[in-house]
Symmetry: C2
Subunit: 211 residues, 2 copies
Amino acid sequence: METPVETTRERLLNVAEQRFGEGGYEGTSLRAITVAAAANIAAVNYHFGSKEALLRAAVARAMAPVNAERRRRLDQLEAGAPPTPEALIRAFVEPGLDLVLRRGERGALIARFIGRIAFDPSRRIRELYAVESEPIESRYLAALQKALPQASPDAVAFGYVNMLGLLALHQSQALSPTPGAAGVQDTADPSELAENLVTFLVAAFDHGLRS
Amino acid sequence: METPVETTRERLLNVAEQRFGEGGYEGTSLRAITVAAAANIAAVNYHFGSKEALLRAAVARAMAPVNAERRRRLDQLEAGAPPTPEALIRAFVEPGLDLVLRRGERGALIARFIGRIAFDPSRRIRELYAVESEPIESRYLAALQKALPQASPDAVAFGYVNMLGLLALHQSQALSPTPGAAGVQDTADPSELAENLVTFLVAAFDHGLRS
DNA sequence: GCATAGTTCAAACGGTCGTTTGAACTGGAG
DNA sequence: CTCCAGTTCAAACGACCGTTTGAACTATGC
């Protein structure tokens, strides 16, 4: 079984995901990416136009399947009875954390990349993520506000941004054990992490939002 | 009333907090810091030894009062009846978010700086924060595990790292409204944000941890 | 005033950065 | 084989980076 030959463009995107996910945007140079991709540095300009455009393309590529799955799940939920907060939270969180299950080793790398970019120090970089995620995310916020009529819309929005934050942090694997925090273990199984996070968030949404 | 004259060293630390908080470690150059501090670039080497050492000193300075207050609150709680999870969460979260109330404009800047460094893309940078915060944080984790006997220690640790993550994100002001997320407003009052976050976390700890 | 420690300075080093350029290469169509 | 579009290459540009250096400056004590 022969692996299809990767184009230079694909190699650049793959390595960009990995490297940007490891070092962030500012901390990753094009030379590091191009060397790892066995490409010439001018190829970045040729295929993408600039470093930032490479990032933009990588973010768009990484987010596309996540967004599609979130959209599919929300469409499905809204086609039936009014969805519960739990169903909505699950529909949102699981695609983000399912990357490992669906894609093997590369999935974890993409998850980390997404989480990392979503909270880059630079607002400009963060907005690359926001542009890709906003259309489907605002639908989820509206659906959650509808599903939680006892809480104020502002309060639901507060819970919602907390959910975004926690999801991104878990994706980026930044919530690793602090040194000396005995008893804290990386959850090896991503579906278990998803269950834990959904349970945590559902409790917070159901009992911890103000009215 | 004359303002005391700032030493070069102090100016460098103050500006470093601001600039590292805005741009992250990699995205902030020493020249930007020294220009803003009206200092010579060699002063960084003279007073601190290196860029990273400047960061380390800034982190230590920023965390010292937060850590002291967390320690004082925990000591106080443990001197009485066994503290509730809510009391512990509050004792941990409030000092982190109180920076604005206690220090005026500079407080928000310091909060952002701390939050930003805590989740820098580079593990090496993140560990500068961890070194400063670990001693008091591990005490809080142990106290929370004791206060939540119905949950497994691993589950409490999971909730704990989520709390760390959310606190840092709120401090860093990275949880700003996404474009188009109508209804999401920056909470102008930090004590209200603390109340909202404590409420959210308490619900998640009380109802959302697995056993 | 001199000596000394502390502090700051401008210039420089060696390295890295993103972007650009024009030539060379590659592959496909006619 | 030629032509052409697409692609890659090495070299270079101008800018920026953290670190270093030796001289100059500053303040204090004798």
